[in-house]
């Protein structure tokens, strides 16, 4: 199956500034794809390039098999939900949603019906006659969605659509967007700086740094097997320990400061193995604290609790282990009967070789 969107060697220069440095990307029909990265990484520029608001300095962009180089935004099979939503304040909700149908020769009543359907789809049934400037943030976002989706684009582009909403509403909208995307079957491309949002919503994620794609994978791979330190640090919380890596026969062996030696599988070094000094990553939830009376057949290291952060459902411990200059962060579920330890408590930390990630880059 060929990709719906194909980007080949996209570069973008603004004067001396190199905003996009050779982006190669294929996005499939019906996919929920996210561009994730810190601000200034070029993700919005890339999205605007797909929409047609920016012209790449070099490289090619194909949508549905057609070269988009000479196609202006108003003739592209893409529609966009802007970060500010760009709801036209002088029009009603219905006029906003029906804006894109102006040039469609369909009869009036059919157009009105399409607007009603689009509003129903985003849960704003009956809001048609409201003035657009009187809407709340969440409602604006829904209007922007309806306005874009009513044109049945091949691709819906979303530029940080949830960043202006408060936390609760944002989480609700995440779930709604996923459901909406499944229902309409349109390819969504989401730009976000929120790694959690990207993990929750996407089929695949491209993590961007400084105009380049650092890693492109499904959320689980990205979280469990980041291919570099910067991806590991950007997505979720990751303990980074100094260590060394080498080959013994065809086994990969790592020596992690404070934890000890162990063998890892090839998939635990997704960025490749460069023998010698390296960084080893381990997620807080793959470590556990052995509470009084607990035993384990996992590997164990001894340490002292340095910091306790209580979240209600979870407690995050920073545990200092001799031989490691930075304390290890460990997250523990607050199960019934499990105490919250005090700072200074001597404790044992259990870990597995399987949860190590070798981060040579």
């Amino acid at each position: 199956m060929t990709a719906l969107i194909q980007l080949r060697g996209i570069h973008k220069h603004y004067g001396d500034y190199h905003a996009l440095r050779g982006i190669d990307l294929e996005i499939r029909q019906g996919e929920f794809f996210s561009l994730l990265g810190p601000s200034g990484c070029g993700k919005t520029t890339l999205l605007r390039t797909i929409a047609g608001f920016e012209q790449p300095s070099s490289g090619s962009l194909m949508i549905d098999g057609k070269d988009m180089a000479a196609v202006p935004p108003n003739h592209r099979p893409t529609n966009m939900v802007f970060q500010s939503y760009a709801i036209f304040p002088h029009l009603t909700v219905a006029q906003n949603v029906g804006f894109g149908l102006r040039r469609d020769p369909m009869p009036k009543d059919q157009r009105a019906k399409a607007v009603v359907e689009a509003l129903d789809m985003v849960g704003l049934g009956g809001y048609g006659n409201r003035a657009a400037h009187a809407l709340s943030g969440g409602q604006r976002q829904r209007v922007a969605l309806a306005r874009a989706l009513i044109l049945k684009p091949k691709v819906l582009l979303l530029d940080e659509p949830l960043s202006a909403l408060d936390k609760k509403l944002r989480e609700n909208m995440q779930v709604e967007l996923i459901r909406l995307q499944r229902n309409v079957g349109i390819t969504f491309i989401l730009v976000t700086h929120d790694q959690e949002e990207a993990l929750v919503m996407s089929d695949r994620i491209a993590v961007m740094f400084e105009g380049e794609i650092g890693q492109m994978a499904d959320p689980e791979t990205l979280y469990r097997r980041p291919n570099s330190r910067r991806v590991a640090e950007f997505i979720g919380k990751m303990n980074l320990l100094p260590g060394s890596v080498g080959m013994e026969g065809n086994r990969i062996v790592v020596d992690v400061a404070g934890l000890g030696r162990g063998a890892v599988e090839a998939d635990q070094a997704p960025g490749g193995v460069a023998p010698g000094q390296t960084t080893v990553g381990i997620r807080p939830e793959t470590l556990s604290i052995l509470f009084a009376g607990e035993t384990t057949d996992r590997r164990v290291a001894e340490g002292v609790v340095d910091e306790v952060v209580y979240y209600g459902d979870m407690t995050y411990y920073d545990v200092r282990i001799p031989g490691v200059d930075r304390p290890l962060t460990i997250s523990m579920k607050n199960l019934i009967g499990r105490p919250v330890l005090d700072v200074g408590t001597a404790t044992k930390v259990a870990w597995d070789e399987r949860s190590l990630v070798v981060l040579s880059r």
């Binding site: 929409a51 935004p73 108003n74 304040p89 804006f99 040039r103 400037h133 306005r147």
Partner: protein
């Protein structure tokens, strides 16, 4: 109420500003041809005389014609400049816009003399209403830009992009989204430019042809002592019109701000 020094200052300040204007209607309705107290009694004869002075009507027609066209030209040019000012990347934008705004701080007499030289010596045209319109447009454009800049800068740059994204051409996006949102600013600009032109004496004095504008005509009248009450009556009418137009202009400006869902950050009133 406490009469602090600041309060006294404020009252004197306001009196200084507005007392002369209050004198206008006072003597305009006074039944005497000498401007002096005590007042002689109520009369509308000066207004009646206004009504029958043909030269005055001609001057008024001239002024209205000039002011209307000045308002239209200046606002048209101002709209173009303000729109250009919102474009994120066009080279030398700040310098160019600054240059366009310069007539705002140039002494009018300099502009008037320079234009007179250009019109008479360089282009060898005769003076007419059109030379006044050209000069007034030069003076009014910076005001128009200042007003419209606010209107344009308040707009989300995504509005036009969103319209284009939804299938409109660049012009369509401007016409359907930007223009309706800046209409209050345009009306406000039209009114302010109209008043600036109507009110101008210096430039008109230099560039007017055989038909004087209203201010030039009034200045001519001041040489005749017995015409003073007539000027008072005329002044009363003009002040009323000016204040009304300003209030309307401000109303539209505020409505524009409210329409775009923004906080009010300035204005004239």
């Amino acid at each position: 109420m406490k009469w602090s020094a600041l309060r006294v200052y404020a009252v004197i300040y306001l009196a200084f500003l507005y007392a002369p204007i209050i004198l206008l209607p006072l003597f305009a309705f006074n039944d005497a041809s000498i401007i002096a107290f005590p007042l002689a009694g109520f009369s509308t004869r000066w207004f009646e005389q206004l009504w029958t002075t043909q030269a005055l009507h001609q001057a008024l027609r001239n002024s209205l014609f000039i002011a209307t066209l000045t308002a239209i030209f200046a606002t048209l040019l101002g709209t173009c400049a303000a729109r250009a000012g919102t474009m994120p990347n066009f080279p030398g934008k700040r310098g160019l816009l600054g240059f366009v705004m310069l007539p705002l701080v140039l002494p009018e007499i300099v502009i008037a003399v320079a234009l007179l030289v250009v019109v008479r010596q360089v282009l060898d045209l005769s003076l007419s209403n059109w030379t006044v319109i050209a000069a007034h447009t030069v003076i009014a454009v910076p005001f128009s830009i200042a007003i419209l800049n606010g209107a344009f800068q308040n707009l989300d740059p995504s509005f036009e992009e969103a319209a284009m994204d939804l299938g409109e051409t660049r012009w369509g996006a401007f016409r359907l989204v930007t223009l309706p949102l800046v209409v209050p600013g345009i009306i406000s600009s039209l009114l302010i430019c109209f008043i600036i032109s109507l009110d101008d004496f210096v430039v008109a004095q230099f560039l007017t042809g055989s038909n004087p504008t209203m201010p030039v005509y009034i200045y001519g009248l001041t040489r005749f002592v017995d015409a003073l009450p007539l000027i008072m009556a005329l002044g009363t009418v003009l002040v009323t019109i000016s204040v009304t137009l300003l209030v309307i202009a401000e109303y539209f400006r505020r409505r524009g701000v409210a329409r775009a869902g923004l906080k009010d950050t300035g204005g004239f009133l």
